[in-house]
């Protein structure tokens, strides 16, 4: 571990500290409506939510490309509004869209990042060589970026962000638009980052498997607010051990209301389209299924299964959308 990161690990201050952060765009669109969270040093924190939930605006404010309307945010103690250059000096971003200079070689791209972040040339050379080897880019690092494959470019972008040994790494939808094989490759790579460097990572995604696999804690965002924030396991536990899932083609909302009226479904049951998802709590699932049949609800299909993060997410965001 380098001296730079040893200093980080001794720092007890939150790596990311967000208080009452709010962004209202000209025209009145409230993209983020006063959010609060803290991320501890070394933690991998996920911002999860559908498109338009406010994740990218939040990342934009934390990376100083979007000016907060009110509230505050600090990176490693530096206020992003009052001391943006210092806040940027302790962070790096992997953007959703590729942002490499395609005409330049991979090494040149990494070297430019190192220079802009004030890394001494000899240390930068060493770091670039090390990262290229670790990310399987040694063979292609000297080639122009526009000759690299999509997966190689993405790995190069992550390597570039790591050249400056950031205390906080932002990964904004890092796997969006990639084919499945490259996506899984990248997930392996990202999950290995924490073990290798100990830095804090803030990840935005709408892929739930990514969040579950990579994140220590997850904040679910919906319509500019955080509707849940906890460890993935705790969020899952909130839905109990088992779920009943029904596909009801005719008037699913009425079916859900009837189940609630008869105590078969509680407030945590939700409907997305024609699918009703009902946490059963301590009651055996077969009893719930039988009681639903007794109510005269005609279901095209009925299944039981364990809850996933998808259910947490849909319960927190999808049901509200449906409502």
């Amino acid at each position: 571990m380098s001296a730079r990161l040893r200093a980080v690990s001794n720092d007890t201050r939150p790596a990311v500290e967000v208080r009452g952060l709010r962004k209202t765009y000209p025209g009145g669109l409230e993209a983020v409506r006063g959010i609060d969270f803290q991320v501890a040093p070394g933690e991998v924190f996920g911002l999860l939510g559908p498109n338009g939930a406010g994740k990218s605006t939040t990342i934009g404010m934390l990376t100083t490309t979007i000016k907060p309307t009110s509230g505050s945010a600090r990176l490693a103690g530096f206020d992003v509004a009052r001391d943006p250059v210092a806040a940027r000096s302790v962070s790096s971003v992997v953007f959703q869209e590729p942002v490499l200079d395609k005409a330049l070689t991979g090494r040149r791209n990494l070297d430019l990042h190192a220079r802009l972040w004030g890394i001494p040339p000899s240390a930068a050379d060493r770091k670039i060589t090390e990262l290229a080897a670790a990310f399987g880019l040694s063979e292609v690092i000297g080639r122009p970026v526009d000759s690299l494959s999509g997966g190689q470019r993405r790995r190069l972008e992550i390597a570039r962000a790591l050249v400056s040994e950031p205390r906080v790494l932002f990964l904004d939808e890092p796997t969006v638009g990639l084919d499945t094989r490259i996506r899984y490759e990248l997930l392996d790579l990202i999950s290995g980052l924490r073990g290798r460097t100990g830095m804090t990572t803030v990840l935005t995604t709408h892929y739930l498997d990514e969040a579950e696999r990579l994140c220590d804690r997850i904040a679910v965002m919906h319509q500019g607010t955080i509707v849940a924030l906890d460890r993935p396991g705790t969020l899952l536990a909130g839905l109990g051990a088992e779920l009943v899932e029904l596909r009801v083609e005719q008037d699913p909302a009425a079916a859900l209301a009837a189940m609630r009226a008869h105590g078969l479904a509680a407030g945590d049951a939700f409907a997305v389209g024609s699918t009703l998802t009902v946490p059963v709590g301590s009651r055996p699932a077969r009893d719930t299924i039988a009681a639903i049949a007794d109510l005269g609800i005609h279901a095209e299909a009925v299944t039981t299964r364990k809850p996933t993060l998808d259910d947490v997410y849909l319960q927190l965001t999808g049901s509200r959308l449906a409502a």
Binding site: Y25, A86, V90, S91, S92, P98, D101, L116, W117, G118
Partner: protein
Amino acid sequence: MTAIPTAPAEAALTSPRPAARPHRLATWATLAGRRVMLSAHTPREVLAPLVTPLLFALVIAPALAKMIPHAGPGGADYSTFVIVGTVGLLIPLTCTFAGIGVIVDRASGARRELLAAPISRSLIVLGNMAVAITVSLLQVAALIAAGWLRGSHFHATPAGAGWFIGAVLTFTVFMYAVAEILANRIPTQEEYVGLTPVVAILPWFLAGSLFPITALPGWLASVARVLPTTHTLALLRYGVLNRGGAGLHDIWGISNTTADAALSLLVLAGWAVLITAASIRVFQRSAVS
């Protein structure tokens, strides 16, 4: 015996340790270097900017001089008069095309990486400007050298060279700042390129490049007197042509040519400072929403 603290000192909690930050000059050099690498990474990209000055110095100016064989305004031969006037076209074209890089950075996403860097964002504008100045100086040097080889008669004293270089540098700063503003305000490359004739070429025709501004209709001559290009061309000719102060006299109408030159350089510098400040502001406003 000294007590060993078991908790971090308060000062450590309230004074976060910043990471290393590059020196402003080093950052500026890095940004300029990036722009050079992006705009000159093939021999074609290095040589292409020299085509226009060479064409004007070796072909167009001499050809026009054949059509107008008598001496140009102020006593210089017409070919030399036009060659110096060509500077007023080269610099705006170079700066306008440099502005395309700003649009490409924005469209390709590369600008986002620069915005995430721990640097003053004004340096991004100034780094690009440095490259536009370098390319402009290279073009002007090629133009003057080719004109001299072709037989043009320049009459430069050290003071004259000073006026000439001062005008070239100040005008380039002004023109690049204009290009930066347009590139940050105009959404597409197509729309931006469509504006090039208006920004780069139209003022050149009105600014005394091919004929004195006194030859223009009265109201148009008044318009020409406020154009930075007019002040630039008048200063350039004052600097390197024998009895080349006629253009300055056409603008100011006072008998002291050095005072005329100082006033024109002051006007140019004022425009350059004002528009550069505006360009940095426009860039920062476009970068942060």
